[in-house]
């Protein structure tokens, strides 16, 4: 079923345009990677703060309110550029186990980030008072982001 969807999608005029205009895919990938840079640097700093190994000059609550909005700002751009790349090469993405792993990890890490932000909004001392939970959330988030980038790069090698 996915295969026939891919076949249909790759024959639409939009997909054919993306396939034939040589600069579209590299240009869109560049925007995608630049947004990954925004997300990854923000999340690495925040996650290591949650774990308790970096950025201790600033309170956790301030870092959450500083960094998480950048992630929510970059994600729609990542989604849009990701969809353009998928329309251009549907079977390269949708039938690819690395792509599926990436989407699964993305869903989980989005949930973790949402919870971290929501609890911080309710009570700015929430994560300071729960160091163990904060460290666990930070460690999972960091691992998932590294996993997302790794899977993203390995899509090209499947």
């Amino acid at each position: 079923m996915i295969q026939s969807f891919c076949d249909w999608l790759s024959n639409t005029s939009l997909s054919l345009t993306i396939q034939t205009v040589m600069w579209i895919i590299p240009a869109v990938q560049t925007i995608h990677i630049l947004c990954v840079a925004v997300v990854m640097s923000c999340m690495a700093m925040l996650d290591l703060r949650l774990i308790g190994v970096a950025g201790k000059r600033q309170p956790i609550s301030r870092m959450v309110s500083k960094f998480v909005p950048w992630v929510w700002g970059a994600l729609p751009v990542l989604l849009t550029t990701g969809i353009i790349l998928t329309i251009g090469e549907p079977s390269r993405e949708l039938l690819n186990p690395y792509f599926r792993a990436k989407m699964l990890m993305l869903a989980i890490v989005t949930g973790i980030t949402f919870v971290v932000q929501r609890q911080n909004k309710k009570d700015t001392s929430f994560w300071e008072l729960r160091r163990g939970t904060a460290a666990t959330a930070g460690a999972f988030s960091l691992l998932l982001w590294v996993g997302i980038i790794t899977a993203g790069r390995w899509i090209a090698y499947y």
Binding site: M22, I25, P26, A27, Q29, T30, I33, L34, V36, A37, V38, V39, M40, S41, C42, A44, M45, G55, R57, K66, V146, I149, T150, R153, W154, A156, Y157
Partner: protein, 164 residues
Amino acid sequence: MTLIPEFCAWLENTSVGTAIRQSTWLFPAIETLHVLATVMVVGSVTMLDLRLLNVAWRDRSIREVHEDVLPWTWSSFAVAAIAGSLLFSSSATKYYHNLPFRMKMVLLVLIAINAAFFETRTYRRIGNSNDEAQISFGAKIAGAVGIVLWIAVVACGRWIGFTK
């Protein structure tokens, strides 16, 4: 002028270059490390550049942001440079003749010049204040130039993968 081509030929025939070229997983694994380190370099240095442009982190002084962010940039850059050199060693001659690769190297030199000028001149005149008036025109130029050059580096890096 044959020095660089000879070096490239030697490099890709070293055991390291040969191993990366012949392995099915070494190149993508090192490339993943290169991408991870690169996004950390670009993301972290952009935080400082946006502070210099007075766009982000306005409630902290430039000095504080500089101290917090640049260790990330430098350590990530070291990883990116080592991983990048290993990738280069797998097909040195090919990359040496590749236009986007050459452009990327020139851009990195320009980034180094921009950073050196900022560190040795502009940054020394910046105090501890986080007052907007304290940000000199030179600091704003350094921030804007930095962002543009890093975007171009990423674009060239990605472009290398789409050329022969």
